[in-house]
């Protein structure tokens, strides 16, 4: 049990961080929530009126919103799943590599070090019919970004290429947590490679997997730059963040745009809660109990 004094000291020490977080996170979020209750267009500042939840009703009854939610999920689910599998593979390689371990780790991390906009442009040019090398590969010869599903494919591939290293890095930290004596004991007991991986490594890594999944899902749900660069939301590839951008910064509709932003916040928080609940018993706190 903690001592009350220690408790107070703890709060005191974290106070600066709490204040900073309140200033840079809580305030903007609350301001957005407040704005979302107004009809407020930057071009007609005098016409500002309180409309309650009408902006939310407008969005939730709009086909554009639900299409963008679908597009966001179409991008998020495949990219995060593939990243988890590939990331695990890369993490195992990095963990086990006996020679050139640093070289392997550096090489794996390169895509993650590239600015997203640059990576998105590189993939766009690669798949472009005039400049792209993909066209030279025979059966792949088609205008990739000019049709809906092939455009999704390019977007998802870009995402996977770009963020698998991040996933691998988080999983590598989890792999390091698996005690070697447990692995040895499993081997002595006659467990095969696959049994050791699925029965020992994975359960022990659950907290790391949870964190990796959480970070990447939250990140993927907010996808913006890749789509902005590659299709600018055309052909039904428009994710929710692009709808928010267009409403806020193109239509200059601060009220409606803030409502979109708040809904994205709710969507992301909801997804995070689902993941945390789904992995339930893997939480470190629970294991301590």
């Amino acid at each position: 049990m903690r001592m009350p004094r220690e408790h107070r000291l703890g709060w005191l020490l974290s106070a600066p961080a709490v204040v900073a977080m309140a200033a840079v996170t809580a305030y903007p979020i609350l301001a957005a929530v407040r704005l979302s209750l107004y009809r407020y267009d930057l071009r007609f500042p005098d016409a500002r009126t309180f409309v309650g939840l009408r902006n939310y009703a407008t969005i939730l009854t709009s086909a554009i919103w639900w299409k963008s939610v679908a597009a966001t999920l179409i991008i998020t689910v495949p990219s995060v799943s593939v990243e988890l599998v590939l990331g695990m593979g890369l993490a195992l390689v990095m963990h086990r590599a006996l020679i050139g371990r640093r070289t392997v780790r550096t090489a794996v991390l390169i895509p993650y070090g590239i600015v997203t906009v640059v990576a998105a442009l590189a993939w766009r040019f690669a798949f472009d019919p005039t400049t792209g090398f993909v066209q030279g590969l025979g059966v792949l010869d088609r205008p990739w970004l000019s049709a809906r599903w092939s455009a999704f494919t390019v977007i998802i591939l870009t995402e996977i290429w770009k963020t698998t290293p991040f996933m691998a890095l988080l999983l590598l930290a989890g792999l390091a947590l698996v005690p070697t004596d447990v692995m040895r004991a499993a081997r002595v007991d006659g467990a095969t490679v696959w049994q050791r991986f699925f029965r020992v490594t994975l359960p022990l890594m659950k907290p790391a997997i949870l964190v990796a999944l959480l970070f990447r899902t939250v990140d993927a749900l907010r996808i913006f730059d890749t789509v902005f660069v590659q299709t600018r939301g055309a052909l039904g590839t428009e994710p929710v963040s692009l709808v928010g951008y267009d409403t806020l910064l193109v239509s200059l509709n601060l009220g409606l745009g803030s409502a979109v932003a708040v809904l994205i916040f709710v969507l992301v928080t909801g997804a995070a809660l689902v993941i945390v609940r789904g992995m339930g018993d893997a939480l470190p706190e629970d294991r301590l109990r």
Binding site: L42, R43, T58, S62, L145, S146, L235, V250, S251, V260
Partner: protein, 421 residues
């Protein structure tokens, strides 16, 4: 081991301080005594024609002011979003604004630019092509001086066709008969260019987007259906570029210069560009009036261009109006056309030998501009355009009958400021 983090932090902080001091002193340089510096926010014109005009106007002011250009991004939608964010925050740094013609009603209604009065207002539109002068008028006032204008022509390959198609139906048929090399380059990506393309088709079919007064939807069913039908027919034809749904002006230009296309509707900049980048193609490149929709009824093509307005929060309004007149003067237009290939707004310049050497098609261009059509003149133009392109894209999936109603309701919702778009 890395260096102790405290040390590192102090080091970073020191560097940040130095950078801050340099920044502050650099900024304070602008407040030094001397004639006021007027800042002109305008797109980063690549040839330097605007910068040259700005310098000349400062020199000719007799020491009353100098003009400094603040370049905006190349993409029009990003220029606008940068400008509106500053103007909505009442930025006094914006003395002069280079506006795309479609922003004038929006900026005027929001109170972001100052209206022109008396002699200045008359001078701003004197001798201008009526279609260019119309771009600066809104609610019976003048809000800017027209600097450059723009419109599209039909470009084609003389070595591949011996007769210029005059209607869209004729053009599509001719292109299809040419086989692989018959491609027609148009703007089909989901961006302003698609709205422009459709607006030209609609106007050529005798329709318009908004009714006179620009507050209610027009989109008359027969003309709208005809325009949608042509867009659909072109998009599903073998003559369409396979990348139509992502094509912008520049992709069209590149495809034409690469010899892949035989036709293209595009702005006049493609002519100087082809002569430098693809002289082989330029030798066989010719121009014609934008195709018409109905035989015998000349096409009406959308007008573009840049207008110079005065920022509403400027500290030097009087000087800014003088400077705007100079920036849009005949001399500046001449610089813009000779250096940058941007069509002038003053009608008489189309007879000028310098202009005619840049634009051998000057007469056709002037004729097209005389009969040009304006995009909807409403403060909600951006919303209207976004709503339209959402229905029109991808062009290959247009349903020319059902989409008339969809287009009408989308534009109506945009005018009412209702819903997402």
């Amino acid at each position: 081991m890395p260096a102790p983090s405290g040390c590192r932090a102090a080091h970073i902080l020191r560097r940040a301080c130095v950078a801050g001091v340099v920044f502050v002193s650099a900024c304070s340089g602008g407040v030094a005594s001397g004639p006021p510096v007027l800042r002109w926010y305008v797109f980063d014109e690549p040839s330097g024609a605007f910068a040259t005009a700005a310098r000349r106007c400062g020199e000719e002011s007799g020491g009353r002011y100098s003009i400094e250009m603040t370049p905006l991004p190349t993409a029009a939608d990003q220029q606008r979003s940068q400008l509106v964010r500053r103007l909505a925050a009442r930025d006094a740094d914006i003395d002069l604004v280079g506006m795309d013609v479609i922003w004038v009603p929006e900026f005027a209604a929001a109170g972001w630019i100052l209206p022109w009065q008396g002699d200045d207002a008359r001078e701003a539109v004197r001798g201008r092509l009526p279609s260019a002068a119309a771009t600066v008028r809104f609610r019976n006032r003048v809000w800017a001086a027209p600097l450059t204008t723009n419109t599209q022509l039909l470009w084609y390959r003389t070595d591949r066709v011996d007769r210029v198609p005059t209607t869209w139906d004729d053009l599509i048929r001719t292109a299809e008969s040419l086989g692989d090399s018959g491609t027609i380059e148009v703007q089909g990506a989901r961006y302003e260019g698609l709205t422009v393309f459709f607006t030209s088709l609609l106007a050529s079919a005798g329709g318009r987007v908004l009714a006179p007064g620009d507050t209610t939807v027009a989109l008359p069913p027969p003309a709208t259906e005809r325009a949608l039908g042509i867009l659909k027919r072109l998009a599903t034809s073998t003559a369409a570029d396979p990348t139509l749904s992502t094509s912008r002006e520049d992709q069209g230009r590149l495809a034409f210069e690469a010899g892949k296309a035989s036709f293209m509707v595009n702005y006049t900049y493609v002519w100087p560009s082809a002569r430098t980048d693809a002289p082989e193609v330029a030798r066989h490149m010719a121009w014609a009036r934008w195709p018409s929709v109905e035989a015998g009824r000349p096409s009406r093509v959308t007008v573009g261009g840049i207008d110079v307005g005065v920022g509403a929060f400027t500290r030097h309004p009087r000087l800014a109006f003088r400077a705007a007149l100079c920036l849009a003067s005949v001399k500046s237009q001449r610089t813009a056309v000779t250096m940058g290939g941007l069509p002038p707004t003053t009608e008489a310049l189309y007879d000028d030998p310098d202009v005619r050497s840049v634009f051998p098609f000057a007469d056709l261009l002037r004729q097209t501009l005389r009969e040009a059509v304006q995009r909807a003149r409403t403060p909600l133009y951006t919303d209207v355009s976004l709503a339209m392109m959402r229905v029109l894209h991808p062009p290959s999936e247009i349903d020319s009958v059902a989409d008339v109603a969809r287009l009408r309701s989308a534009v109506q919702r945009a005018l009412d400021s209702r819903g997402l778009r």
